[in-house]
């Protein structure tokens, strides 16, 4: 019985401290807020901007920066947006190191993954933002949308993987 009392006591302290600290912290958040939507961040002033096909095209044609494919190496090899670099989100340790210098020099980043339901581009964008890269454009509808607009598709592994 004592164990449960102690657990409850720890949880009560955690709730009190958590809510109290959050209320006064400059980094405090609205605990009832739900900002986790792909419709958020359409504003170009945001460091992470969700864009659709037209804006993604302008980014690519205007060579505004590096294009990153957040999907798996297999999906990338089957087909990707021409010029896109593979940065598989679930093996950041390896792939980020590979593109670190390129990312630092790039004035902008365009990230995409499979389709509108895929979240990996969004996750990758957040991770890159935390690593100090900005601005980051997330091509919201992803590679399937690119193909549906008859966008060019490049196949094969990354050049430095082939050699």
């Amino acid at each position: 019985m004592k164990i449960f009392k102690q657990i409850v006591a720890i949880l009560v302290v955690s709730f009190t401290c958590g809510l109290g600290f959050n209320a006064f912290s400059p980094h405090g958040i609205d605990i009832f807020d739900n900002p986790w939507s792909k419709n958020a961040g359409l504003n170009e002033q945001e460091p992470i901007i969700f864009v659709e096909f037209d804006r993604a095209c302008r980014f690519i044609e205007g060579k505004e920066g590096i294009i990153l494919d957040a999907r798996s190496p297999e999906a990338y090899a089957k087909g990707h947006i021409p010029g896109a670099h593979l940065l598989f989100f679930y093996n950041m340790k390896e792939y980020y190191q590979k593109h670190k210098d390129l990312l630092k020099e790039s004035p902008g980043i365009l990230v995409y993954c499979g389709d509108i339901d895929c979240e990996d581009s969004e996750f990758l964008a957040n991770e890159l933002f935390n690593l100090g890269h900005a601005p980051i454009f997330v091509y919201r509808d992803g590679f399937e949308d690119w193909k549906s607009h008859q966008g060019c598709v490049e196949t094969g592994k990354e050049k430095d993987e082939c050699w």
Partner: protein
């Protein structure tokens, strides 16, 4: 028997307590300063409804900090040890579940997966992380057992 004695030796138990406290305090403090970022990492698990993500992101780091302080001070030690084991069991399952989702979605090998698990240590290799969580579960159980044995011993005397 000797191993059991060694594992539950008071000095060893102090070692577990201090190591676990250091890990919990570091991890908790890292997350306290970036609740929004932590909430986003929690979202990636797809285990909690979006509506409670922010609340969990605000409370969980403080649960770690409180447990860490309990391990140092000795206050509510049994409760802290039970919470440590319980929380880390859940974390290990959650990380394994997410790794399984990634494997089934992308076909990537389990030993090649790395991501920021929201543990306060950045991007980590997942097999190592799961192992670390299981070690923490073990440490919590050892602290619990040592406490219970100590109590039982004092009652016999």
């Amino acid at each position: 028997m000797l191993v059991k004695k060694m594992l539950l030796h008071p000095l060893m138990v102090w070692g577990y307590r201090l190591s676990v406290a250091a890990i919990l305090l570091y991890a908790g403090v890292q997350k306290v300063w970036m609740p929004l970022e932590f909430a986003r990492l929690l979202k990636e698990y797809h285990l909690l409804p979006d509506q409670v993500l922010n609340l969990v992101a605000v409370i969980l780091p403080w649960a770690e900090i409180t447990c860490g302080l309990c391990f140092i001070s000795g206050l509510w030690l049994i409760g802290a040890a039970a919470l440590l084991s319980g929380m880390n069991t859940i974390f290990a399952f959650a990380i394994a579940y997410r790794a399984w989702l990634i494997m089934s979605k992308t076909g990537v090998d389990f030993f090649d997966i790395s991501f920021d698990c929201g543990c306060g240590f950045g991007v980590v290799y997942i097999p190592t992380k799961i192992l670390e969580n299981l070690i923490l579960v073990g440490a919590g159980l050892l602290i619990l057992i040592s406490r219970w044995r100590g109590k039982a011993g004092s009652r016999v005397k």
